[in-house]
């Protein structure tokens, strides 16, 4: 790290990147949006090639070492800076978009209340949804977990002799390990979302819920496409790359035996699945093949069509800072001559619903705003979390999938609270991170070293005499303090930062000397 690193960034960004136009720099109250001058710079490709850092090492159920993966991400400064600036840019656009409507905070409150209400009556709304969907001529299936989801979908495909499946992006199917399962069963899956397709071709998990390949630079994408689609490896022009993907994917779309989408909102009253995309790929996936399947997490329910407006208004603004997604598609009935299936998936959701401190995480609409604003996420990359969900929302739901494997994740946070403030459904994310730490410590899912240090710290800090002995004199403070004050086993502090100077005297001894001369107190 040198002062050079502080120069404005001009690195390559992912093709999704639109250069920011500098919109209104003032909010409702006429106050300057505090970061409005942080305009994004025109992007030029860097001269030097920097290999893309890969994600966390997965070793069975062993706890993910997010810090280790993050350190590797930081060791790739071109990627790290591009990632940070790209996502900060989205955060800025989100601020401009949300400041542009006076009722923004009211909308968040409404969205939160609708979700809270729906989740509190989830059984009723699920039954209503099922009945409405069946009345529409849809085949409705229930899956208790990811494995059952995969088996059900595989069964549907087998019944139709379907061998190829096009699908739009769905975090739920990522959760279920769907692509891997289908590959093992001889089904060809083509992801139709650009970012998701990039990740599929590179055999990597998505790193972000909205922008799956945001951790890659344009050069990385050019390399992946050259290797897998035969494009020109030296051409990293965004339009060329996007066009290449489109041209190679179109034939698959036209010939696919079946199509599949995820679900942003499922409307109980009408049995409708609503998807929100910018590429229109959900429409293609749902509308082109004769067999269409929609995978739905049971928490996606909302009661009525009239509630959808609230979510449509908050989703795109939170996710990308745009007023609405390019496509808001409603899937309700099979087209003439085609068949429509909906799979309602639990996969841990009803168990989560029963967790007193954590159930409101089910309100999440997967907008990714908490990730974009998270200073740790922006500097670590989504793959460093080694889980389907990364960033703040990941920290609070990943441990519900595997408490041991993801026991470290709630500690990959400064609990600064920005995530909670951007969340359009008002999930108290940083408070849940705090609560998870408590649960994990109580269940001994945190390293013994850490817990031992806290025990020692607690012993010193609860005994005035021991505390005074630890920091009583300048000399002993010098020796004891770095360890004592920052609980530092390996001098990890000093690796990246200068140590604080030794004070001549603690406040305590100053007070004794200057204010207690006669031992009066």
């Amino acid at each position: 790290m040198s002062a050079d690193d502080l120069r404005p960034n001009e690195d390559a960004l992912h093709p999704d990147v639109q250069p920011a136009s500098d919109e209104s720099a003032r909010g409702q109250d006429g106050q300057r949006l505090q970061h409005a001058e942080a305009a994004s710079k025109p992007i030029r490709a860097p001269a030097t090639r920097e290999p893309q850092p890969r994600g966390a090492k997965i070793r069975g159920d062993r706890p993910i070492d997010q810090a280790e993966a993050a350190e590797r991400f930081l060791a790739a400064p071109l990627h790290q800076k591009a990632h940070d600036e790209r996502l900060w840019d989205v955060r800025k656009k989100r601020d401009v978009a949300t400041q542009a409507i006076p009722e923004w905070e009211e909308l968040r409150e409404l969205a939160s209340q609708i979700k809270t209400h729906t989740l509190s009556h989830l059984d009723e709304y699920l039954e209503q949804f099922e009945a409405a969907a069946k009345a529409n001529g849809v085949h409705v299936h229930w899956a208790a977990d990811g494995a059952e989801h995969n088996r059900i979908v595989h069964g549907i495909l087998k019944d139709h002799g379907a061998k190829t499946l096009i699908k739009s992006k769905s975090m739920l199917t990522e959760e279920c390990g769907f692509r891997h399962y289908m590959a093992a069963n001889g089904i060809d899956i083509i992801e139709t979302d650009l970012g998701e397709r990039i990740q599929q071709l590179d055999d990597e998990e998505p790193s972000h819920v909205v922008m799956p390949a945001v951790h890659k630079t344009r050069i990385d994408v050019a390399e992946v496409f050259a290797r897998t689609l035969g494009t020109d490896p030296t051409n990293d022009d965004a339009h060329y790359l996007a066009e290449s993907q489109r041209m190679t994917t179109r034939p698959h779309i036209l010939q696919a035996d079946a199509g599949m989408t995820g679900c942003n909102f499922a409307i109980a009253e009408t049995g409708t699945v609503v998807t929100c995309t910018n590429e229109g790929n959900a429409d293609l996936s749902g509308n082109v093949p004769k067999l269409q399947i929609h995978s739905i997490g049971i928490e996606k329910l909302i009661p009525r069509v009239e509630h959808l407006g609230v979510f449509i208004r908050v989703l795109a603004r939170s996710a990308l800072g745009s007023t609405i997604t390019q496509y808001t598609s409603h899937f309700r009935k099979p087209r003439a001559g085609s068949e429509m299936h909906m799979v309602l998936v639990d996969n841990g959701r009803s168990a989560r619903l029963g967790m007193e401190e954590f159930w409101t995480s089910l309100k999440c609409i997967r907008c990714g705003a908490c990730m974009n604003t998270c200073p740790v996420y922006r500097r670590s990359g989504g793959l460093s979390y080694g889980a389907t969900y990364s960033g703040p929302i990941g920290l609070i739901i990943d441990p519900t999938f595997n408490k041991r494997k993801y026991s470290t994740l709630p500690f990959s946070s400064t609990m600064n609270g920005s995530c909670t403030n951007v969340c359009p459904v008002k999930i108290n994310i940083h408070e849940q991170i705090f609560a998870w730490r408590k649960v994990l410590a109580e269940e001994h899912q945190i390293p013994l070293l850490k817990q031992g240090m806290m025990k020692a710290a607690g012993a010193v800090l609860s005994r005035p005499a021991a505390y005074r002995a630890a920091i009583g004199t300048a000399d002993s403070a010098l020796r004891a303090l770095p360890r004592f004050a920052v609980y530092n086993p390996l001098n990890t502090w000093g690796k990246g930062r200068e140590m604080p100077e030794t004070p001549k005297q603690s406040f305590h001894s100053w007070y004794k000397q200057n204010r207690m001369k006669d031992g009066a107190k």
Partner: protein, 247 residues
């Protein structure tokens, strides 16, 4: 009105001048300020790590030390946040609840309780970047965070505006976390340091001579980062500036 002064452990140890400035500043307003001699810490290092059982005895000691006062004042947003929101490892007796509700961070005590109008002794003719510590900002509501669509307010800036000669410079990411995060700074040192580098770089580009904050722990981290990068700005606690520090 009896005021109990709480000097957090890292202020006691590393930044005694901040404790002294807080004491002197409160005394300038004619208040009787006492420093309970057996105080140590608020328990935050342990609860921050999830270790609430390990924090219980420290929390009990905190309550014991401060129970007799009308107000408890501390020059630290994060410690006050701990006391107010997270001091829950011990049974919530009336005494515990009382101490928790009467504990104030210095800025809010001056701004909301004393409602001070002027600081005639304070002059600080420098370019200053204000660092909104996250717990102060989003935990105890020192100011309007940039994420919210709400009217602008800032208690620390209100106070600093009463200081003669001060010039506040704007950061491009004014309320981005600096990466200290308590034990985060040692358990995730690479990300923590990088966040600190970005923060101090932002301050340097804004032309700040000084960085002022209501939390010494963030300042300690930022100072360590700035020194490592060879950046020139200096770091000072808001208590010192309001108390008329000559720098």
């Amino acid at each position: 009105m009896r005021i109990g002064l709480f000097v957090p452990c890292y202020v006691d140890a590393f930044e005694p001048e901040v404790g002294i400035a807080t004491l002197e500043l409160l005394e300038r307003f004619g208040l009787k300020v006492e420093y309970p001699y057996d105080q140590t810490c608020c328990g935050q290092p342990m609860t921050n790590t999830g270790c609430h059982a390990e924090a219980a005895a420290t929390e009990a000691l905190f309550v014991k030390n401060f129970t007799e006062f009308d107000y408890v004042v501390a020059p630290s947003g994060s410690c006050v946040h701990q006391v107010r929101e997270h001091l829950t490892a011990i049974p919530q007796t009336d005494a515990v609840k009382a101490v928790r509700s009467k504990t104030f961070e210095l800025v809010e005590f001056l701004h909301d309780v004393l409602k001070i109008e002027e600081l005639p002794w304070a002059e600080f003719p420098h370019k200053v970047a204000y660092h909104n510590n996250c717990n102060s900002l989003r935990g105890i509501h020192h100011a309007r965070p940039s994420e919210l669509n709400a009217p602008f307010f800032s208690k620390p800036l209100d106070l600093l505006k009463k200081v003669r000669g001060i010039e506040i410079v704007d950061l491009t990411r004014p309320d981005e976390c600096c990466g200290f995060g308590g034990t985060f700074s040692v358990f995730e040192p690479a990300v923590s340091a990088k966040m600190g580098y970005d923060k101090v770089g932002d301050q340097a580009r804004a032309g700040a001579d000084y960085v002022v904050s209501a939390d010494s722990s963030c300042l300690m981290h930022q100072k360590g980062c700035a020194e490592r990068l060879g950046l020139p700005q200096k770091f000072i606690h808001i208590a010192q500036v309001l108390n008329g520090a000559v720098a």
